[in-house]
Structures are given as C-alpha cells and as structure tokens.
C-alpha cells in the first residue's frame, strides 16, 4: 500500500504541495488528476524517492521510501519526459534494468518487445510513441509491486493505448500490482482507475472511489404514458434533467436498485439505465468545485 500523509513541499519560496494525503490500495489503480502545474509530477517524484518532502511522510508498506533500496526495488517510476541511457539499445536497457531490479523477468521482456514489434535498435532512434512502448516493456518486465506513471498515455495512438491499458489492468489483477497514474485529462482515465484524486494548486481537493460514484449516480432515459406526470421524481436528488420530445433524461444521485425499483413501479413506456461517463459524473456531481475540473476536461 502506498500511503502519503500530509506531504508538503516548497521549491525555493513557492509552496508546491500543501499537506497532500492519499492512499493507493493494493491491486488498485489510482488516478491523479490536475491541470498543468498542479503538483502531480512533484508528488510522484516524492513517491519514487527522488525528492524528499519537507513535511509529512510517504510510506510504502509502512516504510519510508527515500534512500530505501528494498522498497525502491519494488517501485518503477516512469517520468513524463522519458529518459534512456544515451546510445543504449532496447536489449542493453533490459540488461541495465535486470541488474537493478531483482524481480526482473527477461522472458516477459522479450515477449513484450516482440509483442510491440520493437526492433533491437538504439532507443533514441525511436519515435516518441515507440519510446513510450519501450518504457512500458521495461516497467512491466521489472514486475514492480508499485507502478508510478506520470502522464503515460499522452501521445499514444488509440490502439497502443488500449493494449497498454490492457496489460496494466492484467498485472493489477494477476499480481495485485498497485498503480498510480497521473493525467491532466479525465477522459484518459475512463475505464482504468479505481480511485481518483484531484490536485489543484498543490492541494488535494477531492478524492473519490469510482465504483462508489458510479453506483451513487444514475442516468436514466425514460418515456411515460400519456397523462402520467413526473411528480414521482420530486422525492429524488436530481442532478440534471432534460426532455427531448417525449423522452426524459435524468441524472439522479441515488442507489441503482432504489431507482430501478421506483421507475419500474411507474411502468414507463421506455426505460433505459444508461452508463455514465467519468466526465458526466464529475460535471454533475461537482457543481461547486467545477473550476478545477473544467481544466482537466480539455
């Protein structure tokens, strides 16, 4: 488990992080969201043991990370701007990681490399997207318990993105790997994260479990019989309501079963429980805190 407790950090005189705290549970994916300059990268560099927080603590399995080799053995940090040793080929990078990480799985590495159809060339000669793939191969072959990735999905085409997401989810499920992933784009996190935290100006302003959120908010499309009115909706917490012709669309904050039961009792002509996108949940639920969220919806 990754646990950040009230970490604060100043760069020169600027307060970059102000008492940020959150947890990444084993076997889950945590999405760190925030606009540029919010402090995501700084949080991750602290978690990876590169920087030292001024206040608070970062515990991984109950131990401090900074200069702790045993813990760092189990963490892979993938920075937003990738770095490979100059002049190193794909194979040589693999050897370097193999020397560093005791869990290194060479077979898996070879497998991943061929799966992504990467030639054994100098990594610097690859395109940005291919370099990203090399970084994923390295990260996954090291079999970390904790994978920290700073805006990893930027600049990848949809096919590759999907494949990588699949690999990550697979490792999370199979090995109970915990993932911390940052993004300034909410849509990227769709169908990936278990938890989401939103950072704004160095503060954690919101933390949510997505399953909870999804089960809390329902999107219902329905059409009533003639003469029936929507009176029955009044007892519900309606976040949003619109009507197109005879079709109503409502977003309700309530338990799914409760809503289903209520609508079923009305016996409507049309009744669809629609899936909600992350975006919609945030927009409708966050009314007030929207200022921060708008920025991450670009």
């Amino acid at each position: 488990m990754i646990k950040a407790v009230e970490i604060s950090k100043k760069f020169e005189r600027k307060q970059v992080l102000d008492q940020v705290g959150f947890q990444v549970r084993p076997g889950t994916i945590y999405g760190l969201l925030g606009s540029n300059g919010a402090g995501k990268t700084t949080i991750m560099r602290i978690l990876a043991g590169i920087l030292k927080q001024d206040k608070g603590c970062v515990l991984i399995d109950g131990k401090a990370v900074f200069e702790n080799v045993e813990i760092k053995q189990r963490i892979i940090f993938m920075p937003d701007i990738l770095y490979f040793l100059p002049q190193y080929t794909v194979k040589q990078m693999g050897k370097y990681y193999a020397d560093m990480y005791t869990n290194w799985d060479q077979r898996r590495y070879d497998q991943l490399i061929s799966q992504f159809q990467l030639e054994n060339k100098k990594v610097s000669s690859f395109s940005k997207g291919m370099q990203r793939q090399v970084a994923f191969c390295l990260a996954l072959a090291a079999k970390p318990d904790y994978l920290i990735m700073d805006e990893p999905l930027d600049g990848l085409d949809a096919v590759v993105r999907q494949r990588i997401k699949g690999l990550i989810i697979n490792d999370v499920a199979e090995r109970d790997m915990s993932v911390l992933i940052s993004s300034h784009n909410l849509r990227e996190m769709e169908n990936l994260c278990d938890d989401i935290g939103i950072v704004h100006k160095g503060k954690m302003i919101l933390e949510r479990n997505l399953d909870d959120m999804k089960s809390e908010v329902q999107k219902v499309q329905f059409a009533l019989r003639k003469g029936q009115d929507t009176q029955f909706l009044n007892e519900l917490n309606i976040l949003h309501q619109e009507k197109r012709g005879s079709i109503h669309l409502v977003i309700i904050k309530a338990d799914r079963h409760e809503v289903e039961a209520l609508f079923a009792a009305q016996n409507p002509v049309v009744l669809d429980m629609l899936p909600l996108s992350l975006e919609e949940i945030f927009i409708y639920e966050m009314g007030g805190a929207g200022y921060a969220i708008e920025n991450i919806l670009d």
Binding site: F11, R45, A48, G49, I50, L51, K52, E67, V69, E70, K72, Q73, I75, F77, P79, I81, Y83, L85, Q87, K95, Y96, A98, D99, M100, Y101, T102
Partner: protein, 650 residues
C-alpha cells in the same frame, strides 16, 4: 525479507566505462608517447643518448605535458562521470533506481580512480620493464619509476577528488568545469590577491614575502607545476616533494571526499540546474566572487597608476562587476539590480574590512622593533633573502652590529616618512626588503619601493648603508668567489673598444682578485661612473657561479695590476687612438662622421650609455687599432657641438 540485491551494480560500472573508457585509453597513449616511447627514442639514437639523457631525470623531458594532462584528464573524467547529476532527466532516472546515493558515488569514484590508475600504472610497468631488460637501466632505477608514479598519481587523484566535490556543489554541467578550476586555484588566488592588496594599503607590507613562497603551495595546480618542472633541474622527484605538504594535501583530499559524500546525501534533486545547489552556499559564493573581483580591480587599477585613488576606483568597479556576474550566475538573469540588498550587505563587510585595515595602518607601518630586541636584520632585495633562491656568489646580508641595525632603522623611518608614489618614474629608485629576526624568534618583514632622488637625507642614509663593507661584500659576487675553482679571468673592455683578454696565470688572477676587492671596498656608490668601463669575469669550473664585476679608471688598484701585467693598454682607449666618430640619427637614415679633435672630445664628454630619446644620436667610435663597439653609446641633440648641429641642419 532476505535481500537478494547485490550492492555492486555491474551495469552502473559498465555504463561509466562506456562513457569515459575512451578517455583512459587516450590518456594511456598520450603518456606512453611522452614518457616510455620518448625515452626509447632518445636512447636508441647515439647522439641524443649522450647529449640529452641524464641520470635520474629521464621521465621529465616534457614535464609541462605531463602536468597539463594530470590537471585536465582527471577533471574531464569527473565531469563526464558526474554529468548525470547536472541533467534533470538523467538525475531523476538514476535516483529513482533502487540504489543508494552513496553506492552511486562509490561506483563512480572507483571507476574514475581505476581509469586513472590503469593508464599511469601501465606506463610505470612499461618503464620498469624496459629498465630491467635494456641498457636504459643505466639512466634510472625502479625507485625513480616509483617516485614518478607516485607524483603523477597523487596529482591525478587530487584533481579527481576536487572534481567530485565540485560536482556536488553545482547543478549545472557547464559550471562544473569552471567551479573545479576556480576551486583548485582559490586558496592560492585569495592569498595572492589578499597580500597584494595589503601591500597597496599598508606601506611596507611585504606581499612577496608572504605570497611567493606559500601561494604556489596553496593550489595543487601551481604546487605540482613546480614539482614537475623543478624535477628537471637534476634532482630526483623525491627530494623536491615536501612530505608535509603532501600529507596536508592528502588530508584535504580525504576531507573533500567526505564532504562530497555528505553533500550528495543531502542534495535536493529539485535544485538540479541551479548554479549553486545548496542554498546555504549561495551567500558564501556571492561574497567570494565580489571580494575576489574587488581585489582584482584594485590591483588592476593600482598597477596602472600606482595611486591609491585609482586603487579605490578599482575596488568599487571590481566589486560591482563581481556583483553583476555572481547574481546573473545565481539567478540566470541580467536584471540583477533588484537584488541590490545583497550587494549592500557585502559592501558593508568590505567597508568594515577597510576600516579595520585603516585602524591598524599607523601601527603597522611605524612598528619598528627596538635595537635590543633584534638579533639580526636582513637588508637587501627580496629575491636574495634566504630560501628564495639566492644567486650563487651572493650572500644574504645580515647586520648584527647594533650601530648597523640602528642605521637600517633610521633609513627605514626616512623611507616611511617619504612620499611613496614617485618610485616608478624616478631614475634613482630602490626596492628594499628588511627582515628583523628578533631574539624571541619572531620575524618582522617589510618591503619598500621608493625613490631617493630629491631627498638628501634619504640619499645620505641609503649610501651610508650601501657603502658599508658588509653591504659591499654581500652584494658583489667577487667577495664570495670559490678561489680554488677559478681557472681564468676574462678582462673585457666595454662600450667603446671591443676587446677581451683571457688571464690564466693563477698569480695574476689572485692579484686581480685582491685588487678588485680593495677597489670595491674603497669606491663609493655615488661616484659618477665614467664613460669607459671594463669588466672582470672570473670563470669557474662549477657552472653555477656568475662572478662578474665591472669597473672603471677610478679603480686604481685594479688598473695598476692590469698596467703591470701589460693588459691595460689593450682595453683602454686613449684620445689618440680615436680616428673618428660616426653619428647616426634614431632612424639611421642620416650619418655624420666627425674628425675635428675638439668635437671628438666634446662628444665623448657628453655621450651616455643609452638614451631612449628620439632626438638622440647613436655614437660609434672608430679606432686606429682594434675593433670598436657599434652604437653602444648615444648623445642627445642638445649636447652636440654647435658645428655639428649646423652640419645636421643642412
């Protein structure tokens, strides 16, 4: 959980070797060319073997190259090895790896040292091998090789450790190299600047005395330059090295490495790409740069003008320049005036320092020990002072007699009260170095540069000292002549006639020696020198001595000995010997030949040795017999006889 992690990271070493291995290979080749190959080539050629090769110094034919390599290769090595600390991406990459910082430091250090040891060590092995198997062994032995190895390795390792240390201080690749050299020269530079500036501010402060001997030992770069170069002069490397200095250097290296370790562990990686990584060092850095620039400015403007006013201008200009530079390095912007407060703080310190100097000024300048306290006093030029490399034949002069000491003190007081700023323009200036050695073992040293022109009292005291027998004995090489080594005397005629006669008769040599000593003792320093001068050059079997003295017709005893030996007429020019005089103007496009006897006498009366005046004419005296010196004398236009002037007008 049992740790499977090995603390030796092969891949870190491999990476380092890939980065800097080539440098080590080149280093080996360069050293091989300069040392073993050079020796083999010199040895295999019969001629160079006989002429160039000398026992014990075979390693140091081109010490400059070895020295340059020794202060650049380890620095380059360190700069490349620690480059990852100065690039954000690389720094994040390596520091996110499961390796402790101290492990990284250890790995890079070991690789660096290895890459220095191997090329140097291999060359030493090659040297020992050729020494053992070939005749070259006659010129050096294994212990010579070992002391060479020790000297070269020591400097290399020291420079490398400094580079490691400075890599921790800065976050910028480009500044790493600069900081390394600044840091290795800093103590010597500060010492030099400090003493020089005190000599501007305090009359009599002997900057040379404090700096010359010590300054060069304060920086590995200068210290080892001297060791490499002096090793050439015949002594083996060993005897040139001060073990105490080496021990101090070794201790400093250890401390620097420990400091580097501490700094690395405490380095805040977010400061990567800052010029100075540790915030607490920034004020020190700022202070140091401003002070050094200030002192340099002071020296610069003072040497140009020798006036205190200009020196103060230099201080102000220098400190401002230093401020602008240091702030723009620290904050990477030229808009430095926003930070004027930090300048004011430093300026405050500077003003305090000047105030302190001013407070001690009077006391320092006028403190002259009482005669009873003084055991002896050195009087003379600085370079002749003990331990400064006394010229052979010159004895450092010490007065021990109370009257003499008192005389020196009276002269010193007169110097202090005289104006100090006219010495450069003066034709009669003296630079005098005085060291009182007190009964209690203390030494008080003062150095003065002053003019005795237009100051009758000063002139009188100066000549009283210079006319003392002790002074003459100490400052004339002939008094310290190793008689048994003299095999000949060259008696020469200077500046009119070109003639020299070698005297080899030991009896005559002895007579000449006694006569010239007597004459020097009798002569007075103020006596106007005559136009015709001669010289005696005592040649000795030992090549170190230069026992030369010039004299003129006032040296009656010497002249008499020469007359009796029948040599005098060969060097003396009599009026009837002169056939004519040739005058050439400065541009040598106008020549006049003078034959009239009255004109000849007039010209000879007014001719001087040398004049820079563009109005003056070169004088060549043509002789009836014997060859004459060309253009050794000159005469100013105003001093020419009227008839010649008329001739020139035409």
């Amino acid at each position: 959980m049992p740790s499977k992690t090995s603390s030796i990271k092969k891949q870190v070493i491999l990476y380092d070797l890939r980065q800097v291995g080539w440098l080590s290979v080149l280093y080996f080749l360069a050293l091989f060319l300069i040392v073993p190959l050079n020796i083999i080539i010199k040895y295999s050629n019969q001629k160079t073997r006989e002429i160039v090769m000398e026992k014990g110094e075979v390693f140091l034919y081109v010490p400059e190259f070895q020295w340059i390599l020794s202060i650049t290769v380890p620095v380059l090595l360190g700069v490349i090895l620690f480059r990852y600390m100065h690039k954000k991406q690389a720094s994040d990459f390596l520091h996110s790896m499961p390796v402790k910082r101290k492990t990284l430091l250890g790995h890079h250090t070991i690789v660096g040292l290895l890459l220095l040891f191997v090329p140097i060590g291999l060359n030493a092995i090659i040297l020992i091998t050729i020494q053992a198997v070939s005749g070259i062994g006659d010129y050096f032995n294994a212990s010579d090789v070992l002391s060479w190895l020790g000297l070269v390795l020591f400097l290399n390792v020291f420079m490398f450790v400094i580079t490691v240390f400075t890599s921790m201080i800065t976050g910028m690749f480009s500044l790493h190299l600069v900081f390394t050299y600044i840091f290795s020269l800093l103590p010597a530079a500060v010492m030099f600047l400090g003493t020089y500036n005190l000599s501007i501010l305090l009359v009599g402060f002997p900057a040379d005395y404090y700096s010359k001997s010590m300054v060069r030992a304060y920086s590995p770069i200068t210290y080892f330059y001297d060791r490499f170069l002096t090793s050439q002069t015949g002594n083996t490397v060993y005897s040139q090295v001060s073990w105490l200095t080496l021990t101090i250097y070794a201790a400093i290296a250890v401390l620097l490495y420990i400091a580097a370790h501490w700094l690395y562990v405490h380095r805040r990686l977010e400061e990567t790409s800052q010029s100075v990584v540790y915030p607490f060092m920034r004020p020190v850095f700022r202070f140091g740069v401003i002070i050094c620039f200030m002192m340099t400015g002071g020296i610069f403007f003072h040497t140009g003008s020798a006036s205190l006013g200009w020196a103060i201008f230099g201080y102000i200009a220098g400190s401002l320049a230093g401020f602008v530079l240091v702030e723009s390095i620290l904050y990477k912007t030229w808009r430095v005036y926003t930070n004027y407060k930090s300048f004011l703080v430093v300026a405050g310190f500077i003003v305090l320092a000047f105030l302190a100097t001013y407070l001690v000024k009077n006391n320092y300048e006028n403190s002259i020990p009482s005669v009873e306290e003084v055991e002896k006093v050195y009087f003379g030029e600085f370079y002749n002072y003990e331990g400064q490399g006394v010229e052979p034949g010159m004895e450092p002069l010490y007065f021990t007699n109370e009257d003499d000491i008192e005389l020196v003190q009276r002269l010193q007081k007169q110097i202090i009260s005289a104006p100090q700023d006219n010495a450069w323009e003066s034709e009669e200036s003296r630079s005098t170095f005085i060291v009182y050695e007190l009964e209690n073992g203390e030494k008080i040293a003062r150095s003065y540069f002053y003019s005795i022109e237009d100051n009758t009292e000063l002139k009188r005291l100066q000549s009283e000292v210079e006319n003392s027998l002790l002074y003459k004995h100490a400052n004339n090489a002939v008094f310290n002549l190793p008689k048994e080594d003299v095999y000949a005397v060259d008696v020469q005629s200077n500046n009119i006639k070109q003639n020299s006669i070698a005297v080899t008769d030991p009896q005559l040599i002895n007579k000449l020696h006694e006569a010239i000593k007597k004459d020097i003792e009798l002569s007075s320093s103020e006596a106007p020198e005559e136009l015709q001068t001669y010289s005696l050059d005592f040649l000795t079997n030992k090549d170190e001595g230069f026992y030369y003295t010039s004299f003129d017709d006032s040296y009656k005893n010497t002249v008499q000995v020469l007359q009796e030996a029948g040599i005098y007429d060969d060097i003396k020019v009599y009026p009837e010997d002169i056939s004519s005089i040739e005058l050439n103007n400065f541009d040598r496009n106008k020549t006049i030949t003078v034959k009239e006897e009255s004109d000849l006498n007039h010209i000879l009366d007014h001719a001087v040795y040398y004049s820079e005046d563009e109005d003056s004419y070169f004088v060549t005296v043509n002789l009836n017999r014997g060859s004459s010196m060309k253009e050794e004398l000159s005469i100013e236009y105003d001093d020419l006889p009227q008839s010649i002037k008329n001739q020139l007008e035409e």
